[in-house]
Symmetry: C2
Subunit: 219 residues, 2 copies
């Protein structure tokens, strides 16, 4: 294996190990020694790639952001109507939080007030919700009199709420069932009548069938 490949593989292992340790112990309690041991590399190798624990946390957040972006791209692959894309993206995020420790740790780190965050993961997620809602409005899929800003705030708050409630290990909060219940309550007022009839609140086949994000793939 050439040197460059080995370095990339070490970096990937460190990101994954750091995500696991941060998710289990929290950022403050996590030790760099535990992370390098879990990654199967030396402390020196860790410090070659990351200058500090916060540098590692920023690396986890960046990788989480990349994975969330890919989840939303996959959710839109079949070109669903915007409102379905919105519902599907939220299901894809919850599934990412449940199945992928990098996504889970990234969102946790992003909400940790004790450190300066790198990527603004919540901010990116908010932008995505707003973008898709704007598209839905342009498609005439929002009901008359619905405030676009109110809808974006409510959907961001609920998804962030599910994420933080799920962070203590109770996966019900980030389950497909719970999120479907939210959409069942929210959509009748949010969606125009025609659009409402076609939206699948439990996520369309495209999302349900999205393969789990492999945690081992290249960072």
């Amino acid at each position: 294996m050439v040197k460059q490949e080995r370095a990339a593989r070490t970096r990937r292992s460190l990101i994954l190990a750091a995500a696991e340790v941060f998710a289990e112990e929290g950022f403050v309690s996590a030790s760099l020694t535990a992370i390098s041991r879990r990654a199967g590399v030396s402390n020196g190798a860790l410090h070659f790639h990351f200058d500090s624990k916060n540098g590692l946390a920023c690396g986890v957040e960046e990788e989480a952001a990349r994975r969330v972006r890919r989840l939303t791209v996959l959710a839109g692959a079949d070109g669903p109507p915007a409102l379905q894309l919105l519902v599907d993206s939220t299901h894809a995020l919850m599934r990412g939080l449940a199945d992928d420790v990098v996504v889970r740790a990234g969102f946790e780190l992003s909400g940790d007030l004790s450190r300066v965050t790198g990527v603004d993961l919540r901010g990116e997620w908010r932008c995505w919700i707003e973008t898709v809602l704007q598209r839905a409005a342009a498609q005439g899929a929002l009901a008359d009199g619905v405030s676009y800003a109110d809808a974006a705030s409510a959907i961001l708050a609920a998804t962030v709420g599910f994420q933080v409630l799920g962070a203590r290990g109770d996966k019900d909060w980030i389950s497909r069932r719970t999120l479907t219940g939210f959409w069942e309550l929210m959509l009748p007022r949010l969606a125009a009548r025609d659009a409402l009839d076609t939206v699948v609140t439990c996520g369309s086949r495209c999302v349900v069938g999205v393969p789990e994000v492999p945690v081992e793939e290249p960072v």
Copy 2:
């Protein structure tokens, strides 16, 4: 002043100072010296009342829980219908988060994964939502086919989401306007028609008129 009164006053000062420092710096970064200095008491006095930083944090959480309980009691003082009580309680909580540093710090501490929490503030809030929703169901105020459990999850997630999003200082998230927007979207599906017509989504006069929780009152 008799000895007992002085001790109670010192304890109150410490709780308030701790809430302020935890809210500003987070639990991990907060120092006991900063807290005792802010409270205007000696380190010795602090240790007489609280055995550790976590003991102080538990004290803040307990006082926050007491204040949230009082907010909900005040919201129900005029005996509003259950659905209005639910809406009013959420407005009262957001106002508590905006105006009262003890409530704000208590909820932050309650969500901090790096420590073992004392009172389960989020759990108590969840129980309250469930209790009032049950009452609304008994009053026939919920629409046919609404899942009571889904409604409780959605409302808990959204309010926790608003709280954590507001914790970085952007008070828009915990404003009356934002929460009203959430209820405007949620209630049309949640409420039975008769009940819907009478619910004031921006909070009834009883809540809007609730005086700010005084931070100096007896703990």
